[in-house]
């Protein structure tokens, strides 16, 4: 809301400078965003919150200043009217609940033309374009008194009759009613919208916009000015349904001053006579639903308890004085009735806020609370977030940089990954009003966003990428999913917010999706000349990071199994399992997908991984128990065997570990070789075994025998032979 300082001064005697006034307004809740010099005047841009429609006018702002400065409001002498003639006009309000008061005046013999300079200037300062003297006056009064008016060309109103009623009431249920509004668009009236009718047809949408056929034109001589109180919710619904927002609907839907309505009407008529030379005729005022505020009991001690102050009764009353309240002063409380322009004040707390506002927030001392010691209810939660934080720190230390991507996705992303029809990741949550069609779903996998990050970075010449993100995915719970299944899913996830939402979900039959937190990462390194050689395939680097993270969480029961994810290289990818449940995947991004992206690098190798973190948390919450350090020395043996080249290391390890002995402390593979001296279709695997007893020093010959037995066992299992 733009407020010219000179205009403000017509209502209140201000001695302070514009900047001081701006500061004061800000500190009583009317934030002045900018103070702009316009010619010799100063214009404030005031940010009026939705609860203060009374401040959407010059007089409203002046009223606030009057309360703050304890200076009386001054009304300029302009309401004296010379009324002539009768008003042979018939007004009926059909829907009294939607229109509490309807008033009107006729002004005759007007000369429509351009407005005088002073009027144009004022409107201009408030960013309103001058149209003609009649329209300008209605806008002027709107700005000055905050009350929207509408002017009809009198001769176009048929039957000297105005009916205020909904689209349904007058024409019967379900009828299609059309009206061409002032902006030249023919619109269909939404059901239940309140309209203004003449004897034959609708001529305006109440509180929103007038009709074109009854518009004031250059040829207009006589007009009918409407000033009414329309119910806010009704105006808001109509305006929303039509997608039509006007200065008028903006004010009506927030609430107008039912008492100011008459003053606004008279003011407009007076000004029209001034600028267009008309004759003011009689008026009509139908007021079936009077403003009757409830009495609010405001306890003095409650004011102080809420604010943390020790105000006396007098100080409290002093703050409220000047806000237009009707006050009855009792010993322990005040009985208050708010004025018609403060309809949002209904409860004690609303009045307490008024006291605080006028007293000044800056005068309330800042004091730390005496806190109660909290119970341990949030311990499990904080344990969870600690684990997540550990994972994040591990990734940062492993040189991965954190990204944050939008939670949105599109079908094109899911299709790009080749995700199958039955895959859970197709259970997408759809947004009804997305900003872009490619972002009209909530993501079920973090991977598509990483592909976008990859494209962006590579196209900007960033040659090394190690990125990760921890974020939620959203799996829609389709209505076919049975309730029992859902409860078990929710219980499984152990997300208490989902549990608590159950009651509301069940009653409203709306099902929230399952949200779980995923970790995803991408590793990309352009093959370039490097100072130091490292031939480790990238796959193992990322796999190593995953193993390190799991080990750090004291999770050891994991395994990597060849993956069938459609978007991964089938020979260089793995699904990750803890016990029997899949928690994620890791692998080389399918070359087919990489080829389809517009990446200018030569055969880039991209490793990706994604893990459902929520599902690993239960395994991670185990308590660490100390194991004593060994007291006796160990003996090591290295052995290389030649086996079928398709034998996987995991299988070999499984067999080695199945050899039962208390003396084996550790086994690891330290070399895999294929090539010269090894037959076609075979490979050599070398492993190290460390033996140790917990109660004695082992002897070499004892271990020689045991190791031979182990090697025989493994050669039998693998159908292999010792490498010479």
């Amino acid at each position: 809301m733009r407020v010219p300082f000179e205009w403000l001064k017509e209502f209140i005697d201000i001695k302070e400078s514009p900047h001081e006034v701006a500061h004061r307004l800000t500190m009583i809740g009317l934030e002045v965003e900018t103070v702009e010099q316009v010619d010799s005047d100063v214009v404030f841009e005031v940010n009026v919150t939705p609860n203060r429609p009374d401040c959407l006018s010059i007089i409203g702002i002046a009223r606030e200043l009057s309360a703050a400065y304890k200076t009386p409001l001054v009304f300029p002498e302009h309401d004296v009217l010379a009324e002539t003639g009768e008003l042979d006009f018939n007004v009926d309000i059909v829907n009294v609940d939607l229109c509490h008061r309807y008033a009107g005046r006729v002004v005759r013999n007007l000369k429509i033309g351009p407005s005088p300079e002073w009027l144009k200037k004022r409107l201009e300062k408030c960013s309103i374009r001058s149209i003609n003297n009649i329209v300008d006056v209605t806008n002027y009064v709107l700005l000055e008194l905050g009350h929207p008016l509408h002017a009809f060309d009198l001769k176009t109103i048929k039957g000297r009759r105005i009916i205020v009623g909904t689209s349904n009431r007058v024409k019967g249920q379900g009828a299609r009613i059309k009206l061409k509004t002032l902006d030249g668009i023919e619109r269909e009236m939404p059901e239940d919208s309140l309209l203004i009718w003449d004897a034959e047809r609708p001529i305006a949408i109440a509180g929103v916009m007038g009709g074109m056929e009854t518009e004031v034109a250059d040829s207009t001589m006589d007009i009918f000015i409407e000033s009414a109180y329309f119910e806010p919710v009704s105006v808001r619904r109509t305006s929303k349904a039509l997608g039509l927002k006007t200065e008028s609907s903006y004010r009506f839907e927030r609430g107008t001053d039912i008492k100011m309505l008459k003053k606004a009407l008279d003011r407009a008529a007076y000004l029209m006579r001034e600028v267009a030379g008309g004759t003011i005729c009689g008026k009509i005022d139908i007021y079936p639903k009077r403003y009757k505020p409830d009495e609010i009991n405001v306890r003095y001690n409650k004011v102080n308890e809420t604010l943390g102050l020790k105000l006396t009764k007098e100080e409290i009353i002093d703050c409220l004085d000047g806000l237009g309240f009707e006050m009855k002063k009792l010993a322990n409380s005040l009985k208050i009735k708010p004025p018609a322009y403060r309809r949002e004040i209904k409860k004690e707390i609303d009045v307490i806020e008024e006291v605080a506002r006028i007293y000044g927030y800056d005068r309330i001392p800042a004091q730390l609370p005496k806190a109660t010691i909290m119970s341990q209810e949030s311990r499990v939660k904080s344990q969870e977030s600690k684990i997540k934080d550990n994972i994040k720190q591990s990734l940062l230390k492993s040189s991965f940089t954190e990204v944050i991507n939008y939670s949105f996705t599109g079908l094109q992303d899911i299709d790009l990954l080749g995700i199958g029809e039955d895959d859970e990741r197709r259970n997408l949550v759809q947004i009804k009003n997305p900003l872009k069609i490619e972002e009209s779903f909530m993501r079920t996998t973090l991977m598509p966003a990483f592909i976008k990050d990859l494209i962006h970075n590579v196209s900007h010449g960033n040659r090394e990428l190690r990125l990760f993100e921890i974020a939620r995915v959203f799996i829609s719970q389709k209505s076919e999913v049975s309730l029992a299944h859902r409860s078990s899913l929710i219980a499984h996830r152990k997300k208490d917010h989902e549990l608590s939402a159950m009651s509301h979900e069940l009653s409203s039959a709306s099902i929230l999706p399952i949200e779980c937190e995923h970790l995803a990462a991408l590793y990309y390194k352009e093959k370039s000349k490097a100072l130091y050689r490292d031939d480790t395939p990238d796959f193992y680097i990322v796999k190593g990071v995953i193993e390190a993270i799991l080990n750090d969480l004291k999770i050891y029961d994991y395994s990597f199994v060849r993956s069938s994810e459609p978007f991964l290289h089938p020979g260089q990818s793995a699904d990750i399992f803890i016990m029997d449940s899949k928690i994620g995947y890791v692998g080389v991004l399918s070359p087919a997908i990489v080829d389809s992206l517009d990446i200018k690098a030569h055969k880039p190798s991209v490793i990706v991984m994604e893990i459902d973190i929520d599902s690993i948390i239960p395994y991670a919450m185990q308590v660490v128990k100390y194991r004593p350090l060994p007291r006796y020395p160990y003996i090591e043996r290295d052995t290389a065997i030649i086996v079928d080249s398709l034998l996987e290391a995991a299988m070999l390890m499984k067999w080695l570990k199945s050899y039962s002995s208390d003396l084996i402390e550790d086994i690891y593979v330290f070399d895999v070789y294929q090539g010269e001296n090894i037959p076609e279709g075979k490979k050599s695997i070398a492993f190290n075994v460390r033996y140790r007893a917990s109660d004695r020093t082992l002897k070499d010959d004892e271990i020689d025998a045991m190791h031979k037995s182990l090697v025989d066992y493994i050669l039998d299992k693998t159908k292999g032979q010792l490498r010479a």
Partner: protein, 337 residues
């Protein structure tokens, strides 16, 4: 007697000309070997008259000792020199770059988020979460924002269905926590929020931190105390803080909390639009109407709530002028944090 002195002098002369371990070894043989000069002297001791034998023997032994010590000393010197030569030959070009390993960087938004979280956790606040796809009931209704209320215009909402939205703020977590827990409660709820808006200062997804404290006897003065303490930790103890009235349907009285502009120190600049102040937090006393929704007795309990946008704080802190940079995930940007 001077023979012995001469011998010593000759040895020292010869020792001086020793250049390496091989020379040293032959010198040792020459004097101390089986047929060496000193060895011979000792052998010929029997030829010395008996009365002179003890004193002569002592002298020879003295000189033997002397020669041995000198030879050992020289040997260790030569060995050290040799080692030095060898190590020098193994020297690396230490000006070449180290093998590249670098730590990753946290995303600036999460960096600021954990800073904020840490401060409140130290003040005894726990950390809570809520769903990002949220019921209209929690996002609006129970926060005293009914359907058809103009306050809904304050936020452009993404809808999933008539009853389900993408949460437009982290405030629904307030209701969810109060619903299942009796007072006292004291927590913050960081997280992602969504509004359908996109330009240089708005992204459709951004981050907020919500906070709530409810107990007996909590006042507006406490709200000021806690938020002032937070802002002083976050922006420095000298940062001016001001509270001014505002409007949120779920708090009353409501406040907007400003800090003195950290870029111009309150003098007025482009970022603070010349006002010298930056809006940082929204806050207020929990509206009794919200307590009624969750079944708390507003006569017994009171509390305050607050919320802040993390992007804004991060932009101010790092002087970032385009919010979209946060979500492009350009490694050159991310690596700076």
């Amino acid at each position: 007697m001077s023979y012995m002195e001469d011998l010593k002098q000759t040895f020292l002369e010869e020792l001086k000309s020793v250049k390496n371990l091989a020379d040293l070894s032959s010198l040792r043989v020459k004097y101390l070997g089986k047929k060496g000069i000193i060895t011979s002297e000792l052998k010929s001791l029997s030829k010395v008259p008996p009365e002179e034998r003890p004193s002569h023997g002592k002298k020879v032994n003295e000189i033997k000792q002397f020669i041995e010590t000198e030879l050992d000393l020289q040997e260790s010197r030569l060995k050290q020199e040799e080692l030095k030569r060898q190590l020098l030959s193994e020297s690396l070009d230490i000006t070449l770059n180290g093998k590249f390993i670098s730590f990753g960087s946290p995303h600036p938004i999460n960096k600021v988020l954990s800073e904020v979280t840490d401060i409140f956790v130290k003040m005894g606040f726990s950390v809570e979460e809520g769903p990002e796809v949220e019921l209209d009931y929690y996002n609006f209704e129970a926060l005293n924002i009914p359907k058809d209320h103009p306050a809904r215009d304050m936020q452009d909402t993404f809808y999933i269905s008539d009853d389900i939205v993408l949460r437009t703020h982290t405030s629904p977590v307030q209701v969810r926590v109060m619903e299942k827990r009796k007072p006292p409660v004291r927590f913050i709820a960081p997280g992602k929020v969504y509004r359908c808006d996109a330009d240089i200062t708005h992204t459709p997804m951004f981050h907020q931190v919500e906070g709530l404290m409810v107990d007996r006897g909590i006042t507006f003065s406490n709200l000021k105390g806690v938020l002032k303490a937070f802002l002083h930790q976050m922006f420095g103890a000298d940062t001016p803080v001001r509270f001014r009235p505002s409007f949120f349907p779920f708090t009353e009285p409501s406040a907007e909390v400003d800090i003195g502009c950290i870029l111009c120190n309150g003098a007025g600049c482009r970022v603070c639009k010349g006002s010298g102040w930056l809006e940082i937090l929204g806050a207020g006393m929990v509206n009794p109407r919200v307590f009624e929704y969750v079944g708390y007795d507003p006569e017994e309990y009171s509390g305050f709530a607050f919320g802040m946008g993390i992007e804004r704080i991060a932009m101010l802190k790092y002087s970032i002028d385009d919010i979209r940079l946060f979500y492009e995930n350009d490694i050159r940007f991310l690596k700076q944090f």
